[in-house]
């Protein structure tokens, strides 16, 4: 196999204040390959790719494109070299059409006017060459599912002539189906001469999709292997530096009294009914998992419980207390919540780590007394959590926006878990977190339950639900298709996720 090397990054180093994010990294991409990039949170993957895409300048090192040394100082010059990147957080204008989003800023072909018709025309012209990858040019971004929005991001760079695609954790927000569709398309791309760099924390995906894998740790390249000649276990060992257990030690647990009881909860949104008369309870010492394809009412259900969304009808009881339609701070008192979207909901990006870690209890002792914040205690608290959760940062004063994606997630998780809540609602708690830390967090979740606390786990990762939950409720179009034990065959859970009711049981089969 002798394919041309299209990108060669030599001895790349990148220093941020207090952090060596890339340390003399060498990275090669061959024509037509899918090259996985793997590494712990904060290992430097995104940084390396931002350098290749011209968003960051390396402190040292050179980039060769097809053997020619090239300076890439802006995304524009990267695109001129045929390199495009799709970020984990989309950069689309929500209330504009697909066509406008794809063509925006291409003044050489469109001029300076927002001409919808011309944009659509250009896109359709493009589709005539690219027959198998299309999105309706007239669609409005905010009305499209996440998987399609991601296609628009990919279209944006293809339209600008990219032949080398960088995808930074593209599957983190996708449903299993959407992931599969993306993989099919990516494989098809390679046949047409596209080369792809693929970042993911999911080892199964890396094994399935890639031809080669580069593993990074602490800013350095640990090794490069052919996917066919390696295994999940070996990759995990390479990136974490130790063995990773993939099966969690879960003991049988005695269930206690209900902590959260939801009765006939109904939530209507502008688009229609999101949650339909749901009744269930979460007990002391149990993890109730809510499985389901994203967008089946999970978000609305959880927000209604927490107090972030108006309920149409129904009652939410916390222990003995009715918290229906109260401000979230009522819920926050004894309970915790890990929201779905860390950047919009979980974190204040321009606050330091220390300040983010007290978001839920800044107005309580010891963090404040008589309305005055105690800076020293706040810092000590932060340093403790940074150590416990191995949050990678030079210090606690760093703004959260300067952390890597997975480390941002760790800030949220550590804050919510450290309160030792009676009830924890966790939505995709390990999204974006590396395998080593996933294991640590899952062990912490189990320990929390073993201490007699209640956890409501909402996750689109079926595997996570299966390995953690004591009972699994499957949500489909705002209703439970059944509440089953985790020993239930995966196939029947899959069927329930697609809308089949579990053996004729009614929706309120809780007690």
């Amino acid at each position: 196999m002798k394919k041309e090397v299209v990108v060669s990054m030599r001895n790349i180093s990148k220093e941020y204040p207090g952090v060596l994010a890339n340390d003399r990294v060498n990275f090669d991409l061959a024509e037509g390959e899918i090259h996985g990039l793997l590494g712990e949170n904060g290992a430097g993957k995104s940084t390396l790719m931002k350098i290749l895409y011209g968003m960051e300048q390396p402190t040292e090192g050179d980039i060769y494109i097809r053997g020619i040394k090239t300076a890439i100082d802006t995304p524009k010059s990267a695109l001129e070299q045929g390199i495009g990147m799709v970020h984990q957080h989309f950069m689309l204008i929500k209330n504009f059409s697909v066509a406008i989003n794809v063509t925006l800023g291409m003044t050489d072909r469109l001029g300076y006017r927002l001409d919808e018709r011309r944009a659509i025309h250009l896109l359709q012209e493009f589709y005539s060459e690219m027959t198998y990858f299309k999105v309706d040019p007239k669609g409005i971004i905010e009305e499209l599912p996440v998987g399609i929005q991601q296609r628009v991001e990919i279209l944006k760079i293809l339209f600008r002539g990219a032949k080398i695609l960088i995808l930074d954790e593209p599957t983190a927000v996708l449903t299993p189906n959407e992931t599969q569709e993306l993989f099919d398309i990516l494989k098809r791309f390679t046949k047409d001469g596209y080369s792809i760099i693929f970042i993911s924390h999911k080892l199964d995906e890396i094994m399935e999709l890639t031809d080669r894998v580069t593993v990074m740790r602490d800013g350095r390249v640990i090794g490069e292997v052919n996917t066919k000649e390696t295994s999940k276990e070996e990759l995990a060992r390479m990136m974490v530096g130790r063995e990773v257990i993939f099966r969690l030690p879960k003991t049988k647990q005695q269930q206690g009294a209900p902590v959260l009881s939801v009765d006939k909860l109904t939530v209507d949104t502008d688009w229609g009914r999101a949650v339909n008369k749901l009744s269930f309870s979460v007990h002391k010492g149990e993890i109730l998992g809510i499985a389901g394809v994203d967008g089946n009412g999970q978000k609305e259900l959880v927000e209604a419980i927490v107090g972030l969304r108006a309920k149409t009808s129904g009652v939410v009881m916390l222990q003995e207390q009715d918290i229906t339609n109260t401000h979230p701070h009522q819920f926050n008192r004894e309970c915790s919540y890990i929201p779905e979207d860390r950047q919009e909901e979980g974190l204040i990006m321009e606050y330091s780590i220390a300040d983010n870690l007290i978001l839920k209890n800044h107005n309580q002792e010891p963090f404040s007394k008589h309305y005055l914040l105690d800076k020293e205690i706040i810092l000590n608290h932060a340093n403790q959590l940074i150590e416990d959760y191995r949050i990678k940062t030079p210090n606690a004063q760093v703004m959260v926006k300067a952390l890597s994606g997975g480390n941002q997630q760790k800030v949220v998780v550590s804050r919510e878990m450290s309160k030792d809540p009676d009830l924890l609602i966790a939505v995709n708690p390990t999204r974006g977190i590396d395998v080593g830390s996933i294991e640590e967090i899952q062990v912490k979740l189990l320990k929390h339950r073993d201490e007699g606390k209640a956890i409501l786990l909402v996750s689109t990762e079926l595997e996570e639900i299966l390995s953690l939950s004591d009972r699994i409720a499957v949500l489909y179009e705002g209703e439970f298709m059944g509440i089953v034990s985790p020993d239930t065959p995966v196939e029947s859970i899959g069927l329930m996720m697609a809308g089949t009711r579990h053996r004729g049981e009614g929706e309120q089969d809780d007690q």
Binding site: R309, H327, P328, L347, L359
Partner: protein, 361 residues
């Protein structure tokens, strides 16, 4: 190592002003005037002697307090461009009060302050209420409310509060006048109050629970709400505080300088305050420095016009340049570097009121 606080609050504003004055100088040169003479006379006009320094400080007082008003509101993502109107309404209410009653100074001065602060606070608070209840843009509303304030003052000095032949009110009670702190000049105690206010607000913003909450709301109302903070309530409280500050500035100007209200009571202090707050990156402590710098520009402008025959308009050019520099030196929204994003970052944030669920604390 120079502390980041000093760089942000003191060195950067000074650097921007110097750079803007330099470009202003080039412009003066291009119009065929003598830039060295112009800038020189600007400086001597502002700082050349006892009277000049005192006059510059007198102008700094309203600029500083209005600057604080804008800065505090901005911290909770409320873009208050109505400080001018709140300033006027504060002065108007205080005038009404201080021509109607005459108590001993110890009661009269605080009471007159209070009346002005309440008037300003209400004017701004209404806009705050509209924003949190309906999502109405405060940028438009505070601007419109300025016109209400202009007309109100116009009506008062030509109508109910008019005294004599000129469109102005009677002098306010003697006991409401602020003491002069530099004998032989017009410099009054207001400058001390203003500086203390700035320091107190800096402390509130960064060391108290309230400050933590309003900054959180300003940076991300969504995340703050998820964190249990009542975002609507905090925005409303900050708008009241902001308006109260601007109203208070109006009272102080009345009680320290003019002693009566008339039609062109403010040369636009409330508008300059926006640029001042911006230059200080909305840090109360920084507002002290930037208000003083603007005070110097204003204080020396007359002299520059007389001596160097350079139009005062050049001062506005310099102010505009300062804003451009500040914007260019900012991080854009979400850290993006395009100018469009930076300008978007300047604008008050869009606010969608929470539907239900979140009720009061």
């Amino acid at each position: 190592m120079i502390n980041k606080f000093i760089v942000e609050n003191f060195l950067k504003p000074i650097a921007f002003i110097v750079l803007a004055m330099f470009i202003g100088g080039v412009l003066i040169f291009l119009t065929g005037k003598d830039p060295v003479l112009a800038i020189g006379s600007l400086l001597t006009g502002a700082l050349g002697g006892k009277t000049q320094i005192a006059e510059t400080l007198v102008k700094t007082v309203p600029l500083l307090i209005c600057g604080l008003a804008v800065a505090m509101a901005y911290r909770s993502s409320f873009f208050n461009i109505g400080a001018e109107g709140q300033f006027l309404v504060g002065a108007l209410a205080s005038t009404w009060f201080a021509v109607s009653v005459q108590w001993p100074s110890i009661f009269m001065i605080p009471a007159t302050f209070l009346v002005g602060a309440i008037a300003g606070g209400l004017l701004c608070g209404v806009v705050g209420l509209l924003k949190i209840k309906t999502g109405a843009s405060e940028v438009i509303n505070t601007l419109m409310f300025n016109y209400i304030a202009f007309r109100l003052v116009g009506y008062a000095v030509n109508g109910p509060l008019k005294e004599g032949y000129l469109p102005q009110t009677a002098s306010i009670a003697n006991t409401a006048l602020l003491p002069i702190i530099w004998p032989g000049t017009r410099l009054h105690i207001g400058i001390v109050l203003a500086v203390i206010l700035a320091i107190v607000l800096q402390f509130i913003l960064f060391r108290t629970v309230f400050g933590y909450q309003i900054r959180a709301v300003g940076l991300s109302a969504r995340a703050a709400t998820y964190g249990g903070i009542n975002a609507s309530k905090r925005i409303l409280q900050t708008t009241l505080l902001s308006g109260a500050l601007a109203g208070l500035a109006g009272s102080i100007e009345l009680m320290g300088v003019t002693g009566r209200l008339y039609e062109v009571f403010s040369p636009g202090y409330g508008f300059d305050a926006i640029a001042i707050s911006l230059l200080a990156r909305n840090n109360p402590a920084g507002v002290i420095v930037s208000a003083l710098l603007f005070g110097i520009l204003r204080g020396g402008a007359g002299q520059m016009q007389r001596v160097a025959d350079v139009s005062m308009v050049i001062i506005y050019v310099i102010q505009a340049l300062i804003i451009v520099f500040v914007v260019l030196s900012m991080d854009g929204k979400k850290g993006q570097k395009s100018i469009g994003n930076k300008i978007k970052g300047l604008w008050g944030k869009k606010w969608t009121p929470l539907k239900g669920g979140a009720v009061d604390e």
